[in-house]
Symmetry: C2
Subunit: 346 residues, 2 copies
DNA sequence: GTTAGCACTCTTGAAAGTTGAGTGCTAACA
DNA sequence: TGTTAGCACTCAACTTTCAAGAGTGCTAAC
């Protein structure tokens, strides 16, 4: 037997929906009129009393209406929420325009997401943990400087300047390039081990110091992506919700967004606890970030195959419009897949 | 004859300093005790009355103390402020650690600046307007993709992927590279005109479409820097000042920081109205950004020679600690010069 | 020119009163 | 047994009132 019978469920649903709309505690009379149950407020009151005892709703104070508890929200998200299946939104247009610069795309997406939802959006660049070197080139830029260009499977390009004592002649450069490419191509960060390195240096002979520099650069490349690029947008949206906009809370939250480092734990959490749908909802204390205990956080991961994953997140008040948010995330998620897919096939 | 005699000046000075400290309207009695003028509060009152008539201070309401007007702040900044000349601060250490990635350096500086001042800091990457192409290279990354790498005089590196219908053979690639380098090296954005382009395409023959792509990329590179990379830090600091932290104002301000586009006008304004010291102070309405009319903005430009300039700015309440802010900007400015200088000589 | 004194103004905060939404409980009803 | 009407009660939120305190402007005296 379920904890909640049908009528209680309906009433809980009505309460939550109403609260999502208004942000005000909702009373028995409202429900009595609002819902199609045709029950008097007194009956509703009795049921509400039960629901409160069960922990689904709570009263901010005696003689106020009820608001959903975290448990109530959880029940709503898990059981009550209707899944919308909107058609593909306008996002696509944006993305087709500029697929050149990854950063721009991501920033743009965050923006669209924030605008669509009126909450704060964050999105991380796909991370290359298990990504491989695809192309590597050293060029002589001027007398004392080499430029190392590194391209990974995901077509991410990284550069690193290397200072040398003196210019290398063309032939040496060519040799080095061939050496580096044959040795390192197709390898991921984990696969480049001491053995590889030693062998490489040996073959480089007197230019082993340059090889060192290149490897440093390479490490830097992979490293850099570990400390994660996070794009946020709509951070100021939280000020729109009174329950979050008091000076202290707002300040803490905004800080978390500015110091993007704090968001890392959110990303990791999301990545580790993968679910079937790929969409996670953290309500209040469930969130891995302490500062967000008065918020709800909805996250999704997008996959690009070959171990490249990124995270999208929406942060808003607990009474966020979960349906809309999850719908948005879902479409964006699929959009991302197709976009990067296309990009690759081109 | 000056508008303000010595005594009025002293009193104004005392009022402003006091207000900078406390943020509260300051009354005649406070000044009478606080300053070394040995005047009774009544006398001060008379003088204050004059000062108000002259427009240097104003009353929020009858029977409150006085606060500085924009004109008062202006007078303070121009005439009253003592210039501190602190020794080189801790900034240097930070910068020496990571000179690799321009972005990181700038972001780091913004952070230090924000922490030092407790206001919001912004800093733009040096812009290459008049900067020149130093090195240019096309490489075959895989069957259908070329990578164009562009290095400018300032050692800024930009990449652009170019899709081709089919792979080019090595020889063609070499020829194209030589062609591009000989034609474009040493040229700035303005110098690449239709004549150059036509000539280039003609020489490229059947590969003129690739040349087109490279030129597009090049345009993109210069363009991209025109829509400006701005790094901000300490945006939440404005919440520390009650006069800015009410929901509406804070929201507008934070938005301006997030939508970095809005900051462009500030940068342009700063660049155009160059002064001897290179440090500008915008008080209230003087600011080119409407949202900042309740703030003061202090900006400086740093120069890297060869037409590369960037802008640093501090945004805070009108009662900001101008001395400290300007001091910070001044040292940072010189730091930036030396750092980039070193970087270049290496 | 400076100062003491006084009446006046205006914010601020506390205290007291009022309103209204909402509850819990009881008794009656179907 | 479940539902409902009615009523007393509670409590946040708002309004009003009041007193205190800071500060001013003005006048008259030094």
């Amino acid at each position: 037997m379920r904890e909640l019978d049908e009528r209680k469920t309906k009433i809980l649903n009505a309460i939550i929906r109403n609260y999502l709309d208004t942000g005000e505690p909702v009373g028995s009379r409202t429900i009595s009129k609002y819902s199609d149950l045709n029950l008097s407020s007194a009956t509703i009151r009795n049921e509400m009393s039960d629901l409160e005892e069960l922990g689904y709703i709570l009263q901010p104070h005696t003689s106020a209406g009820r608001i959903p508890s975290d448990k109530g929200y959880r029940f709503y998200v898990d059981n009550l929420m209707r899944e919308k299946n909107q058609e593909v939104s306008e996002m696509k247009e944006f993305m087709i325009e500029h697929t050149e610069r990854m950063e721009q795309v991501l920033q743009q997406m965050a923006k669209v997401l924030a605008e669509n939802t009126n909450y704060t959006a964050m999105i991380t660049a796909p991370s290359y943990h298990r990504n491989k070197v695809k192309f590597l080139q050293l060029s002589q830029v001027d007398k004392e400087q080499l430029l190392a260009v590194i391209v990974t499977e995901g077509n991410m390009v990284k550069n690193k300047m290397i200072s040398t004592r003196e210019a290398l002649d063309n032939e040496t450069l060519l040799k080095l390039n061939i050496l580096l490419n044959t040795s390192l191509n197709g390898l991921s960060a984990e696969q480049i081990n001491l053995g590889t390195i030693a062998r490489l240096k040996e073959q480089a002979g007197i230019h082993s110091n340059i090889v060192s520099d290149v490897l440093d650069a390479l490490a830097g490349v992979f490293q850099e992506d570990e400390d994660l690029e996070v794009y946020t947008s709509g951070t100021t949206n939280i000020l729109k919700y009174p329950e979050l906009s008091d000076s202290r809370k707002a300040s803490e939250l905004l800080n978390a967004f500015e110091e993007k480092k704090q968001l890392v734990s959110l990303v990791n959490e999301t990545l580790s606890s993968e679910e079937q749908t790929g969409i996670q909802v953290y309500i209040g204390d469930e969130s891995p970030i302490q500062n967000m205990k008065d918020c709800s956080v909805v996250t999704a991961t997008y996959q690009l195959g070959e171990g490249m994953t990124g995270t999208i997140g929406i942060i808003g008040p607990k009474r966020m419009d979960y349906e809309n948010v999850m719908d948005n995330l879902k479409t964006l998620k699929s959009q991302l897949d197709t976009v990067f897919q296309n990009n690759k096939e081109k």
